[in-house]
Assembly symmetry: C6
Homo-oligomer: 269 residues x 6
């Protein structure tokens, strides 16, 4: 019966929790309302797949600038689903694969998912799965065609599947004809307001005391980073890159604020 | 003799009824007169192949925007033919196939069909069978050449064959020189009138009561979706996408109408 | 001696009469003087090969719009030659062949022909043998080069060979440098006069009585199809397509004339 | 010693006299002084290779329009050399060869030649050996590179080699960088004067009597073919094509002159 | 425990000290302040990787004109780290490797590094690893895609990795989409001031006495090489090329200064 | 010890003296001062490699128009070095090699050289090693990349290597990014003055007596070939081609001077 089948599924394919956790190593920092909105939207799709009879397949796209947190958010939504089958398809595990090996590996994950009543697959970093280069452009048409079919192929009767894909090259997906394969898209923005930046700085405890903090914020304002998300802001950086910039600045305790501001200004050029 | 041969045929190749049924999982909603006209046209071709001695081969093309219902309609016509050989050729069963494997698989279906006195083959989603990408453009010339020959090759004496192909990229078929291989073409339109939309909404019972329904229709009119099929309409959505949009809206019972209208407006952009 | 050799040849390679007959299934309808002229020209080349000592090889090209009857005419001339070696080289028997398999298959037919004192080879549908696509353009250079050599290679001493090729893409042959390989070319025209059309309609007995026939002809004149071959005519359809259009019209006995006229008008667009 | 070595060579590689004869089946018609000049020039190169110690390798190119007689002339010069090693490298024997098989076959002929003290190799029809197509253009770079090296590679000490190549696409050789590989070039012209044409007609005895001949010549003059080689002439036809046109005309004895003139006029278009 | 694990690691993979030393055979000449600044920056990244918990992976790019000393500096920083795993990935050890062999070799170094708690990998000469040519341009997309993934892939829990890459074609990295894979970039400048040049000349003891030295410096000033790094200078030469030019000049003791000045002027053209 | 190792090396790899001699079959004619200057420059590089500790690798390029004598000069310098390892890498020995076979063969010569304390490698005819064609352009990127690495790779400690490459397509090397791999370049000019031409004519004893010689020189002056190397001269011919032209002229003793002058004038067109 159903529960037995489920039991069988779990050990056989495993639930790749560790892989999903690995990509959220720095946690989710709630630096702006959009972070919670994205998580809530994800949850709604999880529920739709669980309940609607007419849409046993939903394909979702998270897109945004490099390092804006797409992979971490996709993995967080997938993990939270608690579906019996949860899997990460990532180029990181396919270095050196030939085109056909990639297609076979991706295809297998989808085929495996069909054995579980409820599945979620994170298809991470589409441009790398596609071996995409802007020069040419060049890409793996074999992987592209496989993805186009797999993202639209209904699972067999009684099976339901949520696919969450991520990409930094949204316009390329349109050029490739891949964007039509998604039922919905969510935009993951970069950090663009001083308020969000301040939130992150506090969270990662870059400064030792409140005065150091105030001085740094002043310096950032002077440098012109006082726009807000809505207004035109000089600030525009993915959370991943920001965390990296912060750690570099942290190396020289005396000049943390200067180095932070300097790095952000260089990026703006 | 003939009946024996037929008997032999049926079990050997099977009649892929299940495959054909699978692609019509949400049934056919008769949202506009064109739906019945399309089914009737299909029936006429089924009869021509059954009876005319001069045209033992008829190749038909169903084309229209993505998700307009081409595959479901082609499968419905094929199933209704009740021919002893009915087969679906679909890219969904060929993920990861090499070019030559695809050609061999397609060729085999045609070769098998020649063993039955009366056959219908649905060649679904030509652009995916061809591995077509607009960038380049790139496509499998091997599959293209095989299709061009197979769609025109007369079956052996005493055999008759109806081929129903589907495509969302009609102009590409002309560029590729493939459109000349069809004896006739049928256009499967998207839903473009409020009347059709209303028909579908009723059919899938999105609203709980008549008042909720009236309010929603009012909201859609306000949003500018009150054109008709003949006039210039802001509405333009395939039935497949519409069913998906409806299920998403259904997730939040309180704001169903708002979400439905919102989704349709976003698509219009 | 000679006769013995001939006897040996015949059974070994066979004379592919059936293949040649298969492509003329609907017979030759003498709808215009050009049909007989073409057959007579073919006969002259058959005689030249049989008798001239200086030209043991003659390569002939039949070209014209799709469905104008090239294959049927080439096969008819070949069959009428009564040469001991008659063979059809057609893409229909090469679906799924690799480039080198195609070249080997074609080369073998020519090599076989050299064993017979008198041979005729129909090389049908050059563009499909070449895997030609206008996009790119793409084509098999291996097949092209093989054809260029084979169409010009003198048979060994004492052997004579007539090659009849067909193509719908005459200008492409020039682009590819293939047209210089032919000693002569014949143009197979489409049906372009009402008189020819009427001849065909009678031949295939589309109408039940003379009055139905008269009405139909009147309707076709009204629709503007009363040009002649010489004048600028709205009518322009290959015999193969015309036979197909006729059979579709025949499906609905009440409205045969309307459907026929309608189909012809659609083609004109 | 030398004579012994020579004896050994001859049977091992053979002298491909038959192949060389086969390509001059219709003989050499001396229709103009240029024919003898070409043969004399060839003879001079044969002598240079036989006697000069500083140039053990001479590469010669015969080029001219299609069918102007290049292959027949090259073979005639080679045969007349009476060198102990005489070989024809021709695309006609390489149908279906892969690139590397072609290179190996060509390379082998050169390697074999190095075993003979005096060798002549006819490398016929460079554009076909190169698999050249103007579309692209496409060609075998492997064959090209092999030819560039082989046409310039000095034979080992004590060996001498004359290479005679032919081509109808002289400008392409420059584009490919192949023309620099030749020590000398000779232009093989088409027939462009009525006097040459008349010479050929007599030689092949197209007409039965002198009056028929006179009438034909008059008809050709009327048609504007009375230019001379030096002046601008409407006549421009390779000897090979001319012989073919003559044989077609010969098929209908009553209208030989009309058909001949007609064919020549069509070619002029 | 940790120390044991470390012990095991060291012998297994070895620390490729010799390879790293080999590329600094001519030592580091401190011809300008920038040399020390570069070494200090490198040291900072070494410390960041050693200490920060949020950035277990740091990817650094050294770029500058050909021969400016990128490889020597990268190797010096790597060696100075004293990390238990230090490795040089260089095209010099991959001559003749196929694309997939290259990818496998590079991938293996990264996989090996994951077994050590602290690792540094020098990925030298990106353009050669990528088989990059400006004509086309052509490059190995397989290697590019592998590098893009490997330069961003977090090592497993508890492992830390510093990657130092070098390139002379910084703009190409942007075109290829590879530049986003780096956390930081450092510019390695050529020698552009007479002061730096003089420093090097002294260090390598080109002249035998002070007067010869003075004369040479005068000659160089006369030739216009007296700019400074900040001003627009005629001098612009990588340290590697400079050392080569010096050795050539050294060959003719009488005219050392003339030859040196002459070579530098030729380079300026 | 060292001497033993050297002894072992010599027989193992051999010194390809014969190959080097074979390419200088016609000797070196000292027709102009530049010939000796080139040989002296080569000698200097031989000495630099023998003595300098900082430059164990020197890569030299000889370039100039086709047939100007590059290969002969490179081989002469190499032979004169008397290094224990001397080797010729030439496309003449690689006809029919695949790309990877070429790379392997070239790589092996370099690897072998590392076993000798002092080595010189002549890498002849770069454009043929690269399979370069101007159409496209096409070339072997695998060979290119291998050469770029090998021409810059320092030999192991204690080993020294001189590489002398030749090319007729100097600008192509820049396009390919290959020219930066050379430490120095030498230009091998064609014969451009009547004085040089006269020197050669004497050396090869084309004329039987002084009066014949004087007449010929007069004829050449009349034809406008009396420029000098420095002035703009009509004369421009590689020594290799000149020797070939001379031998052709020698064939007809009566008209030697006329034929020589005629050939030189044709080349000038
Ligand atoms: N609100 C947040 N959303 C996403 N990630 C966050 C957030 N707060 C902190 N992070 C951390 O930031 C990092 C985001 O990196 P992630 O790889 O998800 O970005 P990405 O957009 O997928 O990058 P890339 O474009 O390179 O694929 C993760 O380490 C994650 O733990
Ligand atoms: N009138 C209708 N015509 C066709 N399909 C309908 C109709 N009414 C409901 N449907 C349902 O709508 C869906 C149409 O999807 P289908 O795959 O046939 O579209 P498609 O045009 O082939 O899409 P694609 O362009 O992606 O190939 C099916 O689930 C079908 O059951
Ligand atoms: N006068 C005619 N000439 C040629 N075919 C005729 C004629 N009359 C009737 N037919 C029939 O018309 C059909 C012509 O089809 P055929 O395949 O020869 O055309 P085609 O020009 O080769 O087509 P395609 O361009 O597709 O290769 C055949 O079935 C033949 O029997
Ligand atoms: N003067 C002539 N020169 C050359 N061939 C002649 C001459 N007179 C008669 N012939 C005949 O004409 C034919 C010339 O054909 P050949 O194949 O040599 O021409 P080609 O220029 O090589 O053609 P292609 O361009 O197709 O390679 C031969 O059959 C030859 O016997
Ligand atoms: N300050 C310095 N920085 C770097 N290298 C130096 C310095 N001083 C001397 N050198 C020597 O100069 C040479 C620099 O060569 P290196 O191969 O590192 O240059 P590169 O920029 O990597 O060259 P390429 O662009 O060819 O890869 C080395 O031999 C090194 O020992
Ligand atoms: N001064 C000279 N320099 C070089 N070669 C000379 C000289 N004098 C006579 N020769 C002879 O001239 C010929 C030069 O040919 P070589 O193959 O070296 O020219 P190349 O420039 O390498 O030609 P290619 O451009 O075809 O490679 C040789 O046979 C050589 O013996
Ligand atoms: Mg990501
Ligand atoms: Mg479909
Ligand atoms: Mg046909
Ligand atoms: Mg020829
Ligand atoms: Mg370097
Ligand atoms: Mg050379």
């Amino acid at each position: 019966d159903f529960l037995n089948a489920l039991d069988e599924v779990t050990p056989a394919f495993g639930v790749s929790k560790e892989e999903l956790e690995q990509v959220v190593q720095n946690g989710i920092i709630h630096f702006a309302p959009v972070v919670d909105e994205l998580l809530r939207s994800g949850e709604l799709f999880v529920e739709q797949v669980r309940t609607s009879t007419r849409t046993p397949l939903v394909s979702l796209l998270l897109h945004g600038p490099p390092g804006s947190g797409k992979t971490a958010l996709a993995a967080t939504v997938a993990q939270a689903s608690q579906y019996p089958f949860m899997k990460l398809v990532s180029p990181e595990g396919m270095v050196g694969f030939s085109e056909s090996q990639k297609v076979a590996a991706i295809n297998k994950v989808f085929a495996d998912s069909y054995k579980s009543p409820l599945s979620v697959i994170v298809v991470d970093n589409l441009e790398r799965l596609l071996d995409f280069t802007p020069i040419g452009p060049r890409f793996s048409n074999a992987v592209l065609q496989a993805l186009m079919v797999l993202l639209s192929r209904r699972p067999p009767k009684g099976r339901r599947l949520l696919v969450i894909s991520t990409s930094s090259l949204r316009p390329v997906l349109t050029d490739l004809g891949l964007s039509e394969s998604f039922d919905a898209e969510l935009w993951v923005p970069p950090i663009a307001s001083l308020r969000s930046l301040e939130y992150v700085l506090k969270e990662v405890e870059l400064f030792h005391d409140a005065s150091q903090h105030r001085n740094a914020m002043h310096m950032l304002q002077q440098a012109g980073f006082d726009g807000t998300d809505e207004q035109d802001s000089r600030l525009n950086i993915g959370i991943k890159k920001l965390l990296s910039v912060i750690e570099m600045a942290r190396q020289e305790p005396e000049t943390v604020a200067e180095r932070l501001t300097g790095s952000l200004m260089e990026l703006g050029l």
